[in-house]
Symmetry: D2
Amino acid sequence: MTHIAFIGLGNMGLPMVENLLKAHHALTVFDVDSDAVEKAVARGALAAPSNQEASAGAEMVITMLPNGNIVRRVYEETGGLFDIVAPETLLIDCSTIASADAVALANKARERNLFMLDAPVSGGTRGAQDATLSFMVGGDTAAVKRARPILLAMGKAIFHLGANGSGQLAKICNNMMCAILMAGTAEVLALGVCNGLDPRMLTEIMRKSTGNNFALEHWNPWPGIDEGAPASRGFAGGFQVGLMIKDLGLAAEIARTGKAAIPIGATAQNVFQLHALGRTENSVLDMSSIQRLYYPGLTG
Amino acid sequence: MTHIAFIGLGNMGLPMVENLLKAHHALTVFDVDSDAVEKAVARGALAAPSNQEASAGAEMVITMLPNGNIVRRVYEETGGLFDIVAPETLLIDCSTIASADAVALANKARERNLFMLDAPVSGGTRGAQDATLSFMVGGDTAAVKRARPILLAMGKAIFHLGANGSGQLAKICNNMMCAILMAGTAEVLALGVCNGLDPRMLTEIMRKSTGNNFALEHWNPWPGIDEGAPASRGFAGGFQVGLMIKDLGLAAEIARTGKAAIPIGATAQNVFQLHALGRTENSVLDMSSIQRLYYPGLTG
Amino acid sequence: MTHIAFIGLGNMGLPMVENLLKAHHALTVFDVDSDAVEKAVARGALAAPSNQEASAGAEMVITMLPNGNIVRRVYEETGGLFDIVAPETLLIDCSTIASADAVALANKARERNLFMLDAPVSGGTRGAQDATLSFMVGGDTAAVKRARPILLAMGKAIFHLGANGSGQLAKICNNMMCAILMAGTAEVLALGVCNGLDPRMLTEIMRKSTGNNFALEHWNPWPGIDEGAPASRGFAGGFQVGLMIKDLGLAAEIARTGKAAIPIGATAQNVFQLHALGRTENSVLDMSSIQRLYYPGLTG
Amino acid sequence: MTHIAFIGLGNMGLPMVENLLKAHHALTVFDVDSDAVEKAVARGALAAPSNQEASAGAEMVITMLPNGNIVRRVYEETGGLFDIVAPETLLIDCSTIASADAVALANKARERNLFMLDAPVSGGTRGAQDATLSFMVGGDTAAVKRARPILLAMGKAIFHLGANGSGQLAKICNNMMCAILMAGTAEVLALGVCNGLDPRMLTEIMRKSTGNNFALEHWNPWPGIDEGAPASRGFAGGFQVGLMIKDLGLAAEIARTGKAAIPIGATAQNVFQLHALGRTENSVLDMSSIQRLYYPGLTG
């Protein structure tokens, strides 16, 4: 049993806490949303009134927060986690943030004799509930070893990519790929429909051919093809356009620093940005709503 | 048993003929390559000295040729197939050509009281050998019905998309999707490597996540990851860059006529074109060699 | 004095006819629009009831028509110009059409012992009125020599680029450049405004710097900066989005046949296509209305 | 007469110092390059052994440095300019850096009761020599007023765009426009040449038409057309590819923060990046060398 502080009880964080509790760890939690805290308490967690009080005395701290600015504030502010946790505490940030931010945090942690990992996840809320998440981990091998049993209580695969920041790099690479798949699939479906093809049959053909991809198969952007997909419920839920634009911005940033060329990723980024520009409400729709940019008359 | 003329005995045509022979059809064949003709004869086909003599008296003619110009010449030249086959002959073109060419040919066939289908395939040489091809078919329902048993001797799935030309439309849509997957995957792998990630682990992560796609899984462009992929044998074999550029040109053409926007497909087209421009020999490499544009130092 | 038939009396053709009349040539004209014909007659032209009757007996025929399909029909249809003009007649097509169409027409003309030039123009309606057009001419030197005095009655510069079709190639190249300038300028102005800059001051700075270009200077896409520009009158008049999309399609076509890479031109093409997709009425606005795609809230 | 410290005596800084000396100001200068310092001393400047000693006691400090990291270090390091200049000193940074860096510096200056302006320039080394630079200025009106006579000794136009950072915004917008013009022009010239046109005649036509732009006219990327352009001397000198990639990265950054879509600018960025990837030495060539990406066989 490990005493773990868990900061951030959103759609991902809450089920992750539940899985840690099932594995008999002692959890102290904090979130600004008191409803989420209550739910965690109902499953056996202890509530704390602040990040700091949740973390005081914990052997490990796990953060699962919306963006890099929030993550950096929680750790770095005066009286923040870096100032109050005990030496040798293991800090695991599961949020998706810029790789450079992860590196900067890890450097500050090291100066304070703390251990820090970046460990963003893939698998979505479903993976969080089923404890089937994949963790993309950056940091020292010793810290990864220490984190392993805890991470495996929440997921099933751990990829240790290298030094701090490399977990975030892998996450950003995957999300850029995902954006290309989604925008590309929406583009091809519209191309077919504009030429008179049935999007359902075109989907079926490409699924069995060299055009198959995750978006086509599990996240189809054309309404009515996948009953369970956001496209079939007005593009609600899922992964918001605004968040994908943020991640594509992070991809552009690592392309710049790594001197890599990303003509297709950058085009996808701007296609999503044009979509968000067109109507403000688009930013909060699922990213498969990009189908509407390519086929404006689309209903559903 | 049907008397079938088969024109074009390349890597695809020859195994298709073999499967028709296994299904006990009578085949008369022609190709400019006499070695290929000999192989077909060894399996039981009858050789003819020309397209026309192969087709005279056949109930059906199947063509499997490299490009639209050749297809049009075979059918349309003076004394060509249109001039010499009997009324009501069923003509099935399995080549990948422009949709507009398929429509033009079908219109001329109709004027001559012939039946014509465009039926390009997916599944590659493997599918041709195993009789597991998929046919994307455009044309009248009656003609499709008549073709069905013959096509099923060579494949396992028939998609009837609509009027003449629609089979070609579906094929072009799929190939544009395939080009986006390949260029996008090569781009993301190079982005990771330029930032210090291991391409093998990045591949493994994306295969299990929202970035998964056909290129990543079955046609990995980074040398050494898939032992069986063209990337692991110097980008030899596979689907040539020059042919993909041709197909992306066909996609641009139907985007124009269908008034569809294809910013990502067009970027992929130009990325492949830049690759082919850089060194002439690139045109005949497998299209996964696009990896070298993104990461010029690449060996293997 | 030369006896000239002039087919096509639109915004460009009519003033071109007037300038030929001023130079004391004998003009017989035809257009489907009888108002335009009346105006030409009022200036001294002779009206004919058809293309053919206008052209019968003419030493030269000049066509100025909306697109390649119409041009080809006028020349090639049974009983069309190719069938009825006298041997050695000089045919000058000033329309903007595909280079391949121009080549095909010239080949047919040659077979009939006719002389043909493609001679698309730049300079707009203003240039047509002032006889300051530039002609981009493709065809044989002897024919160009014969055409020279006639063209100089309508313009001030003749560029002989080479064989038939090369005039159209130059025109398409220029128009692709123009599209890049317009979309690029609109993009940069929106980038500035989204970051709080004043578009008028940004225009003024770039005009005096390395960003200066024709669109910025003479066709500013931001409403209110150039009083005389279409942007300042609701994007009415000017050069329609739909026509620019057509020309960018011709550019994509010659990129394909010439094996050239046009990543920026293709992106511009798709940006204009997304603009036209968004709202149908956009197609008939001036192409500077692309500013609205980049900054949807734009009024004016 | 004002006592001015000038930090950074490169190709721009040195002639700017000379013009300030001509206007009878007292200059104390510093650069790591002692040759440059000697030249400034020969014109009448006083040499100092460090930034700090140059700036101590100055009424104004002007910095003209290669990038944002250097600028920030000079001002912000312990014992740097912020620590040692007298209250109310006017600090003018003429370097091209990120707008966010300019804002951060200005905020720190304000806390110390210093005045700071971002004032990047356009006009190149020629403008610096002739005192015809344009200054794009961000900062408080009072500070701009105080800077005006000093700036006018080095240039002829001052654009005050708004608050701190806005000078940098305008500069970045202009440079993105410039990159689009250069890459677009190189693309169009290669498109013409691939189709058999003469690049010189195509240039001449577009200069007189709607395709005219700064790159075409004053910086032609095709060797031999402009005798004075870098293209005609092996692409040496001029504005380096690597610097343009840096500026396009800054443009991507302000697109992200300003929520603007830049599909064409981003494509240009990646075209230049592909060019730099292809051969390492390309990074230090003039940016018009992008012509070689589009037409690899190019000599000259």
